[in-house]
């Protein structure tokens, strides 16, 4: 059997249903075999979109996503998508063609050192030089991508290896002596944590993307209710705790809620699970949770005591550790006074925005309206910037795997292709991309993809004719010197129509409801170009490098 066929057979063994990608010279043998397989192939119009689509598929389904590109420029175009997946621990398998083994290192046509380039943005990568290693490499790649702390794995496959013959021998099991993730928390540490929880007066849970990855949301809910402790979720953790639950405090950090940041600042015990204390969460590190003892549960030992010094580290899988903790905590702490205090903060400083003036559209209102009309059940992908923060603040996520956003890398152009991947993986669900007028243009060519396959993604552009988040910083910290942030945009309705996609422009608040309704009843993809208040800001906001209780716009 030829290498290309072995690769296809291996992907079938891994139950791959769909591949996102783009053909080219160094993957011709592979694409020839793809022609005859039951695996669905989605041709994106740029390799970066293929990687993001595989990522959106993976985040929304929990299964590894697969993308394919040719050597050289095809592979380098994947890298932004790979880096995005790496920062947010998303399992994707990137397969890249490579020039003939005899030409590697010769500056051959479309050659790039792809394993070298992707070394620091993959969990692991492989250059397969012998077809006999191919099947076991694919097996290892899927295992590594999906186990422990998940992440992208790249397989670089020279074109001649795709043509070499060998017998298919797909391994059943895998043993890697050097890779043994710790799945169960150390019993001694669990005991210490349980003791600290029992003694706490002002505990707070900080839940991150790790909860979603290990499917621990229902255990988290049980745990929080048992110890009657409020829950904050990071951007990556949105949806891992019900957004409408009375114990829920929203998101912390730079654009978090006042009450989440106050809870962290005043707490005496911080129970962090599956979150890595990103600088956007902590603000000024020495003022972060200053009075709290910190329990940190994470499957990745490198996350522990990296940014924040931790008192009780527990290396393990969120689900296993939560179930151990549930067992170990016998007496829940008495938190009623603490909850009452936080309830006051919630009442006093709710998430809010100034209502519309002269019928202009408030971007937050668009998000609220999408939330209302989808009953909070849609999968929401976002781009990066103000659109992302408003989606995070005003859409209440009740389930995990419904909010897809580039948290770590902050990749503009992520949302639309990620929404495509999510829609392909969840054909029965409504999938939105909440976008900005800047970021949508970073992968707008994918309108051709949604038109070709009739992928009914709904794109809501919060069009403020600015790179809004950068403009906001310029307004607040650079004396309103709007350097390179004003956007002279194309006519998005015409652009959509040019791609044979339905386009709508909405410029008045009173038309928002109707437009979203129309988009939801339309069978195919839709572009909604909402012309929103141009200089609206995302508040509250913690200025960079400030303590998280020093928020502007939100405590007034």
């Amino acid at each position: 059997m030829k290498g290309a066929q072995i690769l296809i057979e291996s992907l079938l063994k891994e139950k791959v249903e769909v591949i996102f990608g783009y053909p080219g010279g160094a993957v011709l043998p592979l694409f020839d075999k793809l022609y005859d397989t039951p695996i669905k192939f989605i041709l994106t119009r740029h390799e970066q979109a293929a990687a993001h689509a595989a990522d959106g598929y993976a985040r929304s389904t929990g299964k590894a996503g697969v993308c394919v590109a040719t050597s050289g420029p095809g592979a380098t175009n994947l890298t932004t998508g790979i880096a995005t997946a790496y920062m947010d621990s998303v399992p994707i398998i990137a397969i890249t063609g490579q020039v003939k083994t005899s030409l590697i290192g010769n500056d051959a046509f479309q050659e790039a050192d792809v394993t070298g380039i992707t070394r620091s943005i993959t969990k692991h990568n492989y250059l397969v030089k012998d077809v006999k290693d191919l099947a076991s490499t694919v097996k290892e790649a899927f295992y590594l991508a999906s186990s422990g702390r998940p992440g992208p794995v790249l397989i670089d496959l020279p074109v001649d290896v795709q043509l070499q013959e060998t017998e298919l021998n797909y391994p059943q099991t895998i043993h890697l002596r050097s890779y043994k993730p710790t799945y169960f928390g150390h019993p001694g540490q669990i005991k210490k944590a349980a003791k600290a929880i029992a003694q706490a007066k002002k505990p707070v849970i900080l839940a991150g993307g790790g909860i979603t990855i290990s499917s621990a949301s229902s255990l988290l809910l049980e745990f929080a209710e048992k110890i009657n402790t409020p829950v904050i979720t990071t951007l990556m953790g949105l949806g891992c705790f019900p957004g409408e639950h009375p114990l829920y405090l929203g998101m912390p950090g730079m654009h978090g809620t006042v009450y989440a940041n106050m809870a962290l600042t005043e707490s005496d015990l911080l129970i962090s699970i599956g979150c890595r204390f990103d600088d956007r969460v902590t603000g000024r590190v020495d003022a972060f949770a200053p009075g709290a003892k910190i329990i940190h549960v994470d499957i990745d030992p490198t996350s522990i005591s990296k940014n924040i010094k931790v008192d009780i580290p527990i290396v393990g899988d969120a689900k296993n550790v939560l179930s151990s903790l549930l067992e170990a905590v016998k007496t829940p702490p008495s938190t009623s006074a603490w909850l009452k205090r936080l309830e006051e903060y919630k009442k006093k400083y709710p998430l809010k925005y100034k209502k519309s003036f002269q019928g202009k559209i408030k971007p937050q209102y668009v998000v609220e309206e999408i939330y209302a009309q989808t009953k909070g059940e849609a999968i929401i992908a976002t781009e990066v910037g103000q659109n992302q923060m408003w989606a995070a603040q005003f859409y209440k996520f009740n389930e995990p795997r419904h909010f897809l956003s580039s948290g770590g890398l902050g990749t503009m152009g992520y949302g639309f292709p990620a929404a495509i991947g999510a829609q392909v993986g969840n054909p029965e669900r409504i999938v939105f991309d909440i976008a900005g007028d800047g970021s949508i243009q970073m992968n707008i060519q994918e309108l051709a993809t949604v038109a070709t396959y009739n992928i009914p993604v709904k794109i809501a552009i919060l069009n403020n004719h600015y790179l809004g988040m950068v403009r906001q910083w310029q307004e607040l910290f650079y004396k309103r010197r709007y350097s390179a942030t004003r956007l002279d945009n194309p006519d998005f309705v015409k652009v959509a129509e040019g791609y044979k996609v339905k386009g709508m422009r909405i410029t008045k608040e009173k038309d928002v409801k109707k437009a979203i309704k129309e988009a939801l009843t339309h069978q195919g993809p839709v572009v909604m170009d909402f012309w929103v208040e141009e200089e609206e800001n995302v508040f509250p906001m913690v200025p960079a490098g400030e303590a998280i209780n020093r928020m502007i716009g939100g405590m007034a």
Binding site: R119, L144, R177
Partner: protein, 157 residues
């Protein structure tokens, strides 16, 4: 502070590059490096000496080393008891190193003259970190043409 770090790794291509990039990405230089197969030909041992300005960063690098899929085990020897050796080959202008000086050096250092002609001498020296330092300072006044070192290897007691 200088740290001696030892890693047992899969004997495969690319592993050294992965390790080296953890240091270079943080702007850390590797002072010395020795790599070779162990008694098990599928395992290589890498011994590195690095100068860590910030112990926290080094702690993070050690964790990251452990996280690399091809790394089997990482040990920081710095606070352990160990024996270390380094091999030096030195080419010195013959006129600047008299037989008396060699005899004097040989008194407390294990060195051997491998080659001698009217132009230069080639000296071999095997010793631990401190002896190497001692030798190098003793040779300060000689005219060294070339000096090559293996990088430190070490074994715990």
């Amino acid at each position: 502070m200088k740290h001696t770090i030892q890693a047992l790794v899969e004997n495969k291509f690319g592993v050294l590059a992965r390790i080296a990039s953890l240091f270079s990405a943080r702007g850390y230089n590797i002072d010395s490096l020795a790599v070779a197969e162990t008694q098990d030909p599928t395992v290589s041992c890498i011994t590195m000496v690095v100068n860590a300005e910030d112990e926290r960063v080094l702690e993070q690098i050690k964790k990251q080393l452990n996280k690399l899929i091809d790394v089997i085990k990482v040990v920081d020897l710095t606070k352990k008891e160990y024996i270390d050796r380094e091999l030096l080959l030195i080419k010195i202008n013959n006129t600047s190193l008299t037989p008396e000086k060699i005899r004097e050096l040989k008194k407390d250092l294990e060195l051997e003259v491998l080659e001698e002609n009217k132009d230069y001498l080639i000296i071999e020296f095997l010793g631990d970190h401190n002896q190497v330092r001692h030798l190098l300072s003793s040779l300060k006044d000689t005219e060294v043409r070339e000096l090559v070192r293996t990088g430190k290897i070490a074994i715990t007691k």
